[in-house]
Amino acid sequence: MASSLHIDLHKISKFVNLSIPALFVVFLSAGHFVSFYFHFFTVAFLFMVIANFFYMTVQKEHVILKNFGLMGQARYIIESIGPEMRQYLFASDTEERPFNREERSEVYRKAKNIDSASSFGSQQNFDPSEIKIRHTMFPTPKEALQPFKITYGEERGLEFAYTITRPIMISAMSYGALGTNAVRSLARGAKLANIPMNTGEGGYPEYHLMEDCDLIFQIGTAKFGVRTDDGLLDDTKLAEIASKPQIRMIEIKFSQGAKPGKGGLLPKEKITDEIAKLRGIKKGADVVSPPYHPECDTVEKTVAFIKRVQNVSGLPTGFKICLGKVSEFEVLVEEMKRQDVYPDFITVDGAEGGTGAAPKAFLDGVGLPLLVGLASIQDCLKRHGIRNKMKLNASGKLISPRAQLVAFALGADAIYSARGFMLSLGCIQALQCGNNTCPIGITTHDPELQKGLVIESRAPRIANYVHNIEHDLEELLRATGCKSFSELTEENLYIPSDTVLGNYRLNSPEVQAAAS
């Protein structure tokens, strides 16, 4: 059945491919016999004739161009502007990924300090399969709330234990992934908001230090900033960095949600003089980030390595992990108990985490989602009776107070966010982080693009975001009837069985043990 609107592309393209040379001839004659000005068109059509000839006979790569010629090119052009067109014109407020417009605009409003009350009803897909917070009939009065305060390293009675007084911290993003202005805006904002910022695995935190905020130094698997020539940990360099008063904690990165189990490669073209200096590497050769620390090839050595970093740095030291196998983590916990060595914190990153660049297969396909990973680790630590030996940080799309409260209820002591702060800086989710072409100038080193990101105007947004998040979190907390985040448990959540977490709960070891 041929509908009247049917478009036969093949016929159209044949028509176009014949018209182009025909028009060329028409304009050629007009140029010759009527007015030489017609030759402007003659030349344009000559160009198209030649291009079409190349598309259809010379090149062998593109099927559409070979079959349809110039008409096919239109498809490439339209396809290339498709994502932007869809984002601006067609995408509904709740369907973009990773963060939809609703979620983004909540962050923008918080960062710009605009009231985020909404009217009439929720924009969320309000089906019963969403995790919700259970409120109480008797909310906590404002005065009864205990001020937020947790101290990393108190379990070991450290001299340099570190106390945070606000529930949210800036998660690891390396200088390299971020440009200078972005790092400095975040760092200045962190200072304003009095929260710590994680340096990411970008090596020596030169630009962070300029703004004098509290820092968590991250040791990546390539040990940028604290490495020996063959990529192992250099104790003296670590001790030197740790002795800076701004460096308050050390985070060993075991894995990250966006690419767990995957190393990385810093191509030699990207190694500028500055990067080489900050990261402690040589120019002219690619540098490999192995998928795991070379020092940590067994469970015993892994725990010993944590001990070594704790001893050398003298600071609260923990690790960041995206959970893969629970059984493996269980063995790690047993080894910690055997050696009596505990990290001061564990940062649990969900597979939904972001990155500057990672293979799509890993971004989409590897690792446990945050809620399941966090619940598993919390359960495992409790089962072994060592939950009180350390703090838990959680990260993975925790950009709204609602999601953050859920993480608290599942055991987190503090929240880490990376992209929440990028959005506060003005990120428009152009998805260009790996290309050095970020239109907002956040993940680029191009001075032209960074120009728009004025540090003075961006830093207050970070502080606003933190302030407004904290405010909303406290309101939510009061609604649950708890006085502090540490009182929250899964009892405060409504977890439908068809969510990832609900499903996991139905099959988790505890439930099965209880049933048998």
Partner: protein, 136 residues
């Protein structure tokens, strides 16, 4: 690397060929007026073409837009060559002008080829991938 150098030399030659006539076009030199009169073009015509040639020269010298300059100069030179074939002829001075136009035309083709990756619709002509595509 080598292609880059060859392309730059070609760009400079084209800029020189196009550029050296601009002064005469914008000052209404009698030779220019006479030659364009054969094409039925007055001062508006040769100043329009002169302006386009100026744009082409500038684009050719800006690294990120070289290909657009080359396409423009290719088009202008195609027109010039057609003018010589159909109306102006190759006698005397006109022959030298035609020779330069042909040289600039050939060099423009060369530049377009060497810089093909700057524009995906050109890169596609040769089946290579443009730099934008490789990134994502």
């Amino acid at each position: 690397m080598k292609n880059n150098i060859i392309s730059w030399i070609a760009q400079l030659i084209v800029v020189f060929i196009l550029g050296q006539t601009l002064f005469f076009k914008f000052t209404d030199a009698p030779e220019v007026a006479e030659m364009f009169a054969k094409l039925g073009m007055g001062p508006f015509g040769y100043k329009l073409i002169g302006s386009l040639e100026l744009v082409a020269c500038i684009l050719l010298l800006i690294p990120s837009s070289t290909i657009w300059g080359a396409i423009l100069s290719w088009g202008l030179m195609s027109g010039a060559i057609m003018g010589h074939i159909s109306k102006i002829g190759f006698e005397g001075n006109a022959g030298a002008m035609a020779g330069m136009a042909i040289a600039a035309w050939l060099l423009s083709c060369l530049i377009i080829f060497f810089r093909r990756n700057q524009a995906s619709f050109i890169a596609n002509m040769f089946g290579t991938k443009s730099s934008n595509e490789m990134q994502s």
